[in-house]
């Protein structure tokens, strides 16, 4: 059983997390998004909205907005970076583990939901999936 700071706090707040948190990429909204979806983490009130524009099956613009902790906001920023330019099908394939790999940190069960909120919002928006990615593992 690993706690939130399984690898220690300094590990959790690695340079790149703080960097994405304090200098988020793709923060903002799109004017007439093709896809827009907002979700919250019921446990803490974190809130993420993802706006996507798709052209020729490719995500040609993506923005996130919302409020939350460094993990949820950095994750959203990283996810935007990762999917921009990808096809929707490629985006759909991004898994829970891929997201955690992007974050590069170990998360306990509660903060895991912060780390996965952006992905969850994307998936719900992009193809109506309303469960936690990999839900039963973190149920």
């Amino acid at each position: 059983m690993s706690g939130a700071s399984g690898g220690g706090m300094d590990d959790l707040y690695r340079e790149h997390i703080l960097d994405h948190y304090q200098h988020p990429r793709n923060r903002g909204t799109l004017e007439r998004p093709y896809i827009t979806y907002e979700d919250t983490n019921p446990l803490c009130g974190d809130r993420i909205r993802m706006d996507l524009n798709v052209r020729d099956g490719k995500i040609d613009a993506v923005r996130f907005s919302g409020t939350g902790c460094s993990i949820s906001q950095a994750a959203a920023s990283m996810l935007c970076e990762a999917i921009e330019g990808k096809t929707l099908d490629e985006a759909k394939k991004i898994s829970r583990d891929d997201m955690l790999e992007l974050l590069g940190i170990e998360l306990g069960p509660v903060r895991l939901k912060c780390g996965l909120l952006a992905l969850k919002t994307l998936k719900a928006g992009a193809y109506g999936m309303t469960q936690w990615p990999g839900e039963d593992e973190d149920a």
Binding site: G3, A4, P42, P109, V110
Partner: protein
Amino acid sequence: MKASDTATASLDARAVREQFPIFRAERAKPLRYLDSAATSQKPDAVIEAMDRYYGTINANIHRGIYRIAEEATAAYEDARRRLADFIGARSPRELIFTSNSTAAINLVAYAWGRSQLEAGDAIVLTVMEHHANLVPWQILAAERDVELRFIPITGSGELDLAALPTLLADGRVKLVGAVHISNVLGTVNPIAEIARQAHAAGARMLVDASQSVPHCPVDVQALGCDFFAFTGHKMLGPTGIGGLWARRELLEAMPPFMGGGEMIREVKLTGSKWNELPWKFEAGTMPIAEAIGLGAAVDYLRSLGMERVFAHDRELVAYAMERLREVPGLTLLGPSEDKRGGVIAFTLDGIHPHDVATVLDDDGVAVRAGHHCAMPLHEALGVPASARASFHCYSLPEEVDALVAGLHRARKVFAR
């Protein structure tokens, strides 16, 4: 661990018994506990799991970010997973913790029943239901003008399934509810067949599994039911916890039951959005220690093997029936040994079950006397009350011997 579920060697009840502190406690007369259908005893492993939670990781769950809160959350959800697996659920999301079977059935009656049933609908129950699977439906029936119908019992204490097609015939039945193993007669009911007929008639099937989950292998998929209620304290677990399993689609469609923290996703003064399954139905601080204790009980039962637990129950009940037939004036209730679990109720001519129980208590033999929360069944049987002996994995044949000796003594006392 799963392998042992199908092991064939029989249970070493004497060794099992050593793991239950209540049987090691010093007392004037040894305890001969024959009331496991009312509540089971608890092994060290269960008590210790709860003490460990309180003594090392006690914290509220789901919201705490600090270490012990995350450990407590993981332990709680882990217990859910083990329990879901134990009864054959497809996902832990279909398993809602409640405070007991009664609360589980009331959850169905309120959240599903109030949203689905209307005047003119009907519910089919059985005459052998425990009050827990009767009174919630009576309350609903009175409120909504819903009709209750009952599957009768045969002379030998089995469900009279010949009556079922007629009960279902008019297509108004929305729910069929039946006890899996009767807590009085011990009868093991043919749930899969009832569920098949219920579904064919467009009704949902609810199973009161309070007496089966603790004693025999169960599989909600094989039973083919829709709702499945059970209770922790009868399955070697603590008081204060139970469970409701239901098909995911049904749970998704149901409105919540209790309102409060945790079951919501977002609250504004003007209204709220519900949380996901299973938390939509878990309002407020849950019985956390108890869920963890119940998880330990599941591990313990699995280590014994449910096939073996059931075989042990059935051996004892067969032995008890044989020995009880020796007692003059004694009438056994319920079916033959091959059709029942580890429960045996009886009456003794001219001696009220209360008096039977009191005389037995004097020898340290604990049996239950009364209607066992099944008044309509007793009415159908034509007796106001009965005495009941029931077993679990720690029960021994010499406890049956003590019971029989006590009954002979009772007859002497009342023959004065």
